[in-house]
């Protein structure tokens, strides 16, 4: 009976030793991008900016998706759209362009982790305040 008990122990050890333990390491490489929407009103000769935090060095896309009158009707007026770094009470742009609203990103920029901003401003084309929506996609 003693031999049987020893043999039983051998069986249990053999069964356990037959498997290689696999450890799963957390995967930090996949980070879901987030989309923030910055909505507001742009006055004549005015400028408005919005700051956001980039957590990963991935592309940041900025889309001026909507520019409308107070009635809600879309307009194709061109405004200045910029991307940059907050500086005091404004946004110091590293990239800027004059654009109308669209559904394809007007600004695409690779950014290191940090605080960034987008700014929308009137180039002199506004004849009335306009409502805007800017989509910012980043990680």
């Amino acid at each position: 009976m003693k031999r049987l008990a020893v043999f039983g122990l051998f069986v249990c050890v053999a069964a356990g030793a037959g498997c290689q333990s696999e450890t799963t390491q957390p995967d930090y490489s996949i980070v879901s991008p987030v989309t923030e929407t910055f909505q507001g009103t742009l006055n004549q000769q005015g400028a408005v900016f919005y700051s956001f935090i980039v957590g990963n060095p991935d592309p940041v896309s900025v889309t001026l998706a909507s520019l409308t009158k107070s009635s809600g009707t879309a307009v194709t007026t061109s405004v200045r759209l910029g991307f940059g770094i907050p500086a005091g009470e404004t946004c110091s742009t590293t990239t800027a362009l004059t654009t109308a609203s669209g559904l394809q990103a007007q600004v695409l920029q690779v950014a290191s982790p940090g605080v960034y901003c987008v700014i929308i401003s009137d180039t002199g084309a506004l004849t009335e305040p306009l409502n805007f929506a800017i989509k910012i996609k980043h990680s």
Binding site: T35, G72, T73, L103
Partner: protein
Amino acid sequence: MSRLRRLLVSGGVIAALLLPVAACDNGPSTTDDTTSPTTPTTSPVTESFSTQLFVGGSASRSFTAVKAGTATVTLVSAGTATTKVGFGLGVPDVLGSGCVFTRSSEAATAGTSFTLPVDAGTYCVRVYDVGALTSTITFSVTIIRP
């Protein structure tokens, strides 16, 4: 008794050999691994949106472009051929529950259409009364999206 013992020992040996194999899960077997055929995603996709529009009312619908491409929204019908409504394409309003426009018309009739290049993302169409309706109408919109 010694025969029974031999039998137990033999059974133990077999179990010792088989147990490690049975206890391991090395993923799917290579012999019976069946691969289902992948159905290709067709693009562009056409969706239809049809409902009633009340006097002073509006109706919107969001849709998702799964990849970059071109989106076209068309007001196929809206009441009679001369009925004018507001119609537009844009992005969901995060400050409200509607749709803020990228392109729109306040005098859209059947056949009015907007086509824009889009990135992958969520977009919307909205049909609304601009004050011209005197009774409820039925409208239909088609959305062609990547």
